[in-house]
Symmetry: C2
Subunit: 137 residues, 2 copies
Amino acid sequence: MRSINDIPIHVLSPDETLTGQAEAVLSEIADLLGRLLETGEAGSIDLRSLPLSPADRDWLNAKLGRGEVEIVLEAGGRSVLTETAYAGVWKVQHCDTEERVVSEFIEVAYIPAIVRPAGADIENAYEKLQSDLKQIS
Amino acid sequence: MRSINDIPIHVLSPDETLTGQAEAVLSEIADLLGRLLETGEAGSIDLRSLPLSPADRDWLNAKLGRGEVEIVLEAGGRSVLTETAYAGVWKVQHCDTEERVVSEFIEVAYIPAIVRPAGADIENAYEKLQSDLKQIS
């Protein structure tokens, strides 16, 4: 006769457990995409603010997949913005100058705002270029 | 008495010669930046269509410098879009699937058009995500 001790058990550590949070994030992403389509308004989800287990993160990464675009921005620490397989859904990771990851977001936008230069930056570039051209000629 | 043969000469090969074309490109970039500021309209310069010498290219690259953003797009061949030190001025290089450079542009825009997903892409992503979510739950 088999005793209860013979029943194979596998204790899941919290790391291996799906909490349902990842699915909630995916559902929130769908809502934000809908809003982007309707109003043009971008939105984001702060992944660090959520109790995602490592299993949740793996699941979410697998679901989101990879798109065609990767953007690297070097401005007092590196930011990496990766398009997912869903157009308009970006994974955004900011690092400090010691390359420690300091924030992780899902951003739902045509282009993440941080990549687009401000009008004032373009004005400064225009003025600098005009003055550089005067020095050359 | 020194003869004419004593005068040191250095024959510049065409590769080493600045033709004035690079300066013309820089001036054209300034015009396009001005138009971007005034009208929001982007513009581009096809570098392959111009008789730029290697010296011209080096001079232009040195003048344009490097900005904070680099974008890599993988879509049937790699495209690399590099922000220059002048905000709104991008160097854009497209390669074919064998990694041969097939075109080189200067693009003057807030964000090069190729990076921004089309509305239809966002719609498709939204519908796909909705259907994926239904399968999960």
